[in-house]
Amino acid sequence: MLRKSSEGGGVKRGHASAASRHHSDSLTGSTKTWDVGHRRRSHNLLSDGADPLVSASCPPGVDPEYVMMLVNDVRWFANVLLHLKEAFQSPEGSEAFQQVVQERLAELLRVLKAVIAKHQALNSVDILGKAGTLIAKVKGINFDDVRSENLDGTFGEIHASIDTLAFTFGNVVSDFLMGDVDNGSGLGTPQARRSRSFDNLAVDPEDYAAEKNDLAGPDVPLSREEEVDLILLKHDSGVESALLYAKAWSKYIKDLLAWMEKRVTMDVECAKSYAKLAESAKSLVTQQDYMPFSDVYNSTFKNDVEYNQLLMQTAMALQTNKFIQPLLGRKNELDKLRKDLKEQWQKEQKKMHEADVSLRKARALKAQRQEEYQKAHSYTSRSLEEQPSAVNKQLEKKRRLEEEALQRAEEAQEQYQNSMADAGVRRMDLANVKRTILTQIRETVFQCDLTLKAVTVNWFQMQHAQMALLPAHHQALSDGAKLYEPGECYSEFVRRLPRHLPRERVHSDSVSSDGARFVFAKRSVGSSHSSHGNLSQASLTSCDVLSGDEVDSPLHRRPGIAARRSNSSTDIPELRNQAPPIRAWTSGSPGSQGGMCSDSESAGGSSESRSMDSPSASPGDFKRRLPRTPSTGTMSSADDLDEREPLSPLDNGLAEMVTETASSPGPFRNAQMSKAAQTHKLRKLRAPSKCRECDSLVVFHGAECEECSLACHKKCLETLAIQCGHKKLQGKLQLFGINFTQASKNSADGIPFIIKKCTSEIESRALNIKGIYRMNGAKSRVEKLCQAFENGKDLVELSELSPHDISNVLKLYLRQLPEPLILYRYYNDFIGLAKEYQRVVVEEAQEREAKKPGGAAIRLNRVVLRIRDLLRQLPAANYRTLHFLVAHLNRVAEQAEENKMTASNLGIIFGPTLVKPRQADAEVSLSSLVDYPYQALMVELLVRHFPVVFDAPPSSESDAPSAASQTSPVLTPQEKLQRLSRHSASLTDIKESAKVYKRFSSVIPSSHILDEVQEVQPGTDRTDSSDGVNGVDEVPGLQRSGPELGHAAATGPASASATLASMVQLRAHRARSSSRPISLPAPAEPADPPKETFKETPGAEPAEARAGSSRVSAYYITPFIDTRAMQRRTWDRKYRHYDVTPRTAMIVAKLPAASAAAAVPAPASTVSTVFPNNPYAVSVKPAWTSERDNQPSSSSLLTLRPPRTLQPPPGTFYKPPVSRARTLPDWTTTITATTNTPVSPTAAPPSPPHSRLQTQDSTDSAIDAGAASLSPPQSPPPSSPDDPDPGETKAIYQRLRPRRLQELEHREAHFV
């Protein structure tokens, strides 16, 4: 094709004079003769037919003669190029100029063509492309517009393209001579080459003629492909347009396909019902003898059936290989290609852009360097001029400078040239890519079009074949019908009657069950109908009846009969409706019917029913055929009919039925409807009502379902999610945020339908969607879906909704339960178990480290079993629902490869939803923040150990107690073990929660903490209050955090005890780092900035800024450890971390510092030493917290904390600052007091806290008043000089540790 394009170029020069062409032709011929001869010779040497072989065995590069020839040709080409170029140099007189240009262009192209034809290896896309560009450029010249002044502008481009052509040609030739060109490509089409090569001109007159024709015909357009490609190639955004077109094509096809698919299904449905109709009608109609037109109708039925079979076959064919599939395949192919090409193109463009940018940069650099050089130069020369006798050295220097500048300028120049070349190459690449892309697109589009064409032809042919049958057939039938003479059948019938029967018939028509009578009755009906001109009525009716109400008890129907009697004879539908009851009734009490028989219509009705019945023989069979046939809706009740004008009794012929079949909602046939909406039988809404879809009032344009009386806007039909339940839809149901027990009552197994519905939908199609349950759905759609669930219960159609919406609804439902599935009262137990599990895992890790074979696996298992036992205490409905839900999550987790939702991920998502503590108000309470990881862990455990946890064999009742009894003894050793390595186990636990606390406390405004604190505060006895409040667990956490806060607040002067100081030293070294704020005055600690090498976030503890309170900073280190940046809350990571801690704990325990703090060495020392050991000190959790430490001491730090946090806005859930300010000190006191009581010997006297309280109050009030003093955010009130000394707080803290341990033990015992 590309070669063709060059010829196409050649064609253009046909504009030039014919004379010149002849001239050049002869010229070519003369030039050619030589190499023709040469070629021939070589051919003859070997076998003549083996053209490729010849070239292959004798590569052109080898043959010096050939090279000579090539060189000649190249020279020739170069001359022509030059010639053309010259033409542009001297434009004289537009007309002459035009002629000259065109001539020369033609010459150039001819030569090019000749050269290429001769040397196939030169037939490269590049050359042809460049030639094409050149042609386009030349053609683009507006010759009338050529003036000498804009010469450069006009021809610049042309010169450029001539140059590129020359360049490319040179490249290709040199490549070829280097042997780089793949000869195979040229050899692949020897035949074609020959036909196009000029050597053959004489030999092959036909070809020549063709060629000539080609050449001569300036009007012969380029083949369409070339033209398209060329145009797009010229166009800047050619690729984009092509892609756009491809996209549009694909969309167009998509729409077409959608239509076709719908149409085909409709066809099939329609055909099916037609066929069914015909079948049943046939079976009924053939019952009767002597009916007029019976053969006509019989053949109609037969034809109908056949026709419908044909229809279905056609539809099938269309669906498979005739229409939809090929088209779909094409479309997908196109889409894929489009995407690939787009990417490729973008990549290419990006590269181009980069090259451009670097070029520009290089240019700028070059300019700059040159300027510099100039400057230097002028400077040198000036100084030379000014002080010719200047110091030599200076001159020398300047000269050197100048030289340097020159050198640099040269470098820049070089670089510029390089990047220019680079850009050129890029541009070339881009052009090539563009060309290939365009070609690909074009080819694909053409292919697609081809397919589309074929498919379209198929479609219409099939339609034609399908339809063609009908007219002839109908014609024949109508002819047949015309021949009938009215009354013929009747007379025939009468003639054949046995003598005695007629009389009997007259007397007791429908009473007796004699078959013959039915026959007659039917006939009469038939005729009466036909007299109505409604021939199809019989079949219609029977069909209708088939699907009509089932036979109820006869009693039921009696009133109906009365009603029927009162009906006018034209009220056929009514009759029809009543027909089955009559039949039933008739059979039930045959004797009581006398009067009715006089009414011919009613007789008809009854016989109809009978006739309908007869094929299936018994009323029992009736139900078998119940599947609703289309007409049910239409005929369901008489008054409906009145309302629907189109369905007035007289015109419900087959046509109407068909439309009914196609889409049930009569008046809303044209409305776009969702899948769910299509299940309804819609009619116009009669009375204003509430739309079930959007929950607003519907007055106009409302639709209503006949069966479930769902009301809805017409436009809401598009999105309606509630399917028809075929019974009256219940009123709106409160679903979200209502009690679980209430919800579970509504379903048999106690699992709310919404959970089942959502999970089953997700399982059916969304298990492998990445981030299912993690990603958010669209809020608006989620809300709508919630509403749909409340409105339509389990009838909601989910198949069209995004899985993320569905998963969101499920999460929302669970989250909005007033009490979570795991009831509040079990919360602490579950969290306790999670913590225990965690601890066991840690221990196991330790044991592994210590090479101690531990029964950790067994213990883990035991925890899991205890979870199982605990779960069983849940109410049955909760248990079942949880079981169901976790089973689902387990299945989700099984697909973690694809959906990335592992059990732990699901735990994080569902943790706070399934396992949540009771909260006083809607706020995030501290405890829940603390427990988030455990909530997540618990859910993770449930999911991970689902088979075990929910394995609830009935025998487990006996198992459970035994397990429990076993555990306690076993656990005691475990606890002993724990005690042995107490510091480690308890430490990790403490640390864990401390960290968690920390991690949140850094975020939580202190006021918040204080809320919690307040709970503790009332009782002075800490232990009591703590146990009373929120369970064993949270309060310890609180207590731990408490001291920390206290420390934070405590900006004690350097009055720390000696022991502490020693510890501090240790830690201070650790904590110090280069990240220490420079602006900090570093008060009172000038001696101690031991600039350690800067770790990523080496504790970056500004806290140390506070003199003497470095112990405090140590505290912050604790949480900091756990919140390393890389710690992405994966438990195993933590375990790894813990591997380290116990050991360090041991080591550190021996340190003098620890021995100094004799009272409680273990926890304190470990806490302190963990930090140094922390391998990944990347992030500093407590940094924010610690900052509050700096602040008070160094008001010079501008960065810090707007005090706004001190006064939370009323809108937030934080307590007013006043209470906070007050509570904190109180609370501190509380703790100090309580801790002091037991530890009185070691602890400092309680008076400092009190004094601190006072001072704090005063500081706080000062803050409140002045707002000017910097105070830390969300932090306890700033330090004041008389804060309790750290030593004291330390003591408190130390006291707390054992207490904590005790509690843990308590809890353990409790669990056992």
Binding site: R774, K811, N905, G911, V1003, I1078, F1094, M1126, A1183
Partner: protein, 183 residues
Amino acid sequence: MREYKVVVLGSGGVGKSALTVQFVTGTFIEKYDPTIEDFYRKEIEVDSSPSVLEILDTAGTEQFASMRDLYIKNGQGFILVYSLVNQQSFQDIKPMRDQIIRVKRYEKVPVILVGNKVDLESEREVSSSEGQALAEEWGCPFMETSAKSKTMVDELFAEIVRQMDYAAQPDKDDPCCSSCNIQ
């Protein structure tokens, strides 16, 4: 050295953690674990002044939405991240900004709008211009980043520092007084 508290917000799975970790450690995390909350600290030099960035990487999953107020209260600058291959995440970001304004009670909170995952150009659902338009509406900078290919990540954090500097400038003497007064 100034300290800057940056909070990274955005709905689930948009790559908040990936961005943050890319910035802090220079690596791209392949993991797909939802974050509850992570905290990072890094020193960088922005416009030749050293700064310490304290970055709070938050939970995007809406289960933790209740914690967002807390994050916002404590942050000074906010990076609002959406995934440009997920139109929904772009929609989710709007209420977050409203929430910031509400909690801060201050219009000119330093905010940057970020479309992440620009490496997935072919799956893009949110066009550059959409993001740009939203950013203009908010009067904040807009960037398209990729944590995976480390596109514009450092620039992003440098920019948020500038934003915070800028926000603090009008009242240099007391950087917090403007907000104090408002509150």
